[in-house]
């Protein structure tokens, strides 16, 4: 049976796991205007910083125990024995998580951006940045989650967080480029390039780490 469908079925049934990070993201976005003086300009100033950090946190929550359940119930052992391309399976699993969690969060990013800035153009341009960065963060935290498979998710987050910092810098520059009408495409391409390297390397690294854990 199609691995995509199976992973989708598993995630769909674990409602808390996929709705949880989305709700946390929405709550942070709703809480933001409540914490500052209600002046529109002030709201815009810090919004995008908060947006990227919220996406980062949501992706961290989403991957908290991405492999733990399969590790504990013996599914990982079965998978390694029966499926020849374990990295490919991991890549599919990450994609499903992005599809179920990353894309909705990116859509909400667009909506909240539109609500706060009331600028459709900026919000539309921010959307692809949100899509790409959510996928990058997801991959990075999956790597962290694999590293700390049976040692608690906090360790993985601590290891992975510094890797996300360069992405946050590029995102900050991307928003400035969009707001000032400078060519933002280079930054978008830079993120896409990073993503292409990450999505091809992380599944192999993660599969190696998981095999080491199972030994």
């Amino acid at each position: 049976m199609n691995v995509f469908y199976l992973e989708y079925l598993k995630l769909k049934k674990k409602t808390r796991h996929w709705i949880g990070p989305i709700i946390v993201f929405i709550l942070i976005m709703i809480a933001y205007p409540l914490t500052v003086e209600f002046l529109e300009k002030d709201l815009e100033k810090g919004f995008y910083s908060l947006l990227w950090i919220s996406i980062l946190l949501s992706m961290m929550l989403a991957t908290e125990d991405i492999f733990l359940e399969d590790y504990n119930d013996g599914t990982l052992e079965q998978t390694i024995i029966s499926i020849s391309s374990f990295p490919f399976l991991i890549a599919k699993k990450i994609f499903i998580y992005w599809f179920m969690i990353g894309i909705p969060i990116s859509l909400f990013s667009f909506l909240f951006s539109l609500g706060i800035t009331k600028n459709l153009n900026i919000s539309l341009l921010v959307f692809p940045f949100a899509m790409i960065c959510s996928y990058i963060f997801l991959n990075l935290f999956v790597f962290g989650s694999a590293l700390s498979l049976n040692k608690g998710s906090v360790l993985g987050a601590i290891i992975t967080m510094p890797l996300a910092l360069p992405v946050l810098i590029v995102l900050g520059k991307g928003v400035i480029a969009i707001q000032f009408g400078i060519n933002y495409l280079e930054l978008l391409l830079l993120l896409l390039g990073s993503l292409s390297i990450i999505i091809t390397s992380v599944p192999f690294i993660v599969s190696y780490i998981i095999k080491a854990h199972l030994e």
Partner: protein, 190 residues
């Protein structure tokens, strides 16, 4: 024609400086069973994991013919507690198997198809996990303590199933503390 499925020579395994087993040599042909026995902590499950290629041996060599065609059931059942019985069968690609209903009836699981696995007893979960073994088409079946948690009827059913599989030329490796009345080569880990 070569009927050998497993050939292990001088297999040793140690954790740090503790030697679990030393210089094990065995082979398994089609239609044969290998019963791995031993006390708790003697390395039965570790040996199974070495055969499966999950854990590397410290010394020696092991050769498995066609290691992509192995049916394995370990201590952990690989069942999802939050999914129903039928969803779990779907996860393992067994929901449309032609013999599924026969085995579900034999194991008294047919009425639990829509029940969440977490609500089944340990024995029922074990039976559900064993369905994967019953519906397999592998040449080599590897089972780690397959009889644990089973009632008398289920125990006999599994035993008879394994005997039939041996007759059809499949090979079986299993660990068990009890005598399962299956004619086997015995590998006793002290």
């Amino acid at each position: 024609m070569n009927t050998e499925l497993i050939k292990a020579e001088n297999i040793s395994f140690k954790i740090n400086e503790n030697r679990l087993f030393h210089n094990l040599t065995f082979s398994l042909n089609k239609g044969e069973a290998l019963h791995i026995t031993g006390s708790n902590g003697s390395g039965k499950s570790t040996l199974i994991r070495i055969i499966l290629g999950i854990t590397p041996q410290s010394k020696g060599s092991i050769m498995i013919i066609n290691n992509n065609n192995i049916c394995y059931l370990g201590h952990k059942n690989a069942l999802k507690g939050y999914l129903s019985v039928i969803d779990n069968l779907m996860l393992h690609g067994l929901n449309n198997h032609k013999d599924l209903n026969y085995y579900l009836e034999k194991l008294d699981l047919i009425k639990f198809l829509d029940v969440v696995v977490a609500n089944l007893s340990f024995g029922q979960q074990k039976k559900l996990a064993l369905l994967r073994v019953f519906l397999n088409d592998s040449d080599l079946i590897i089972l780690d303590e397959p009889f644990v948690g089973l009632d008398k009827d289920a125990h006999d059913f599994v035993k008879n199933f394994l005997l039939k599989e041996l007759e059809t030329g499949k090979a079986i490796v299993y660990t068990s503390h009890i005598d399962c009345e299956i004619e086997s080569k015995v590998l006793n880990l002290q």
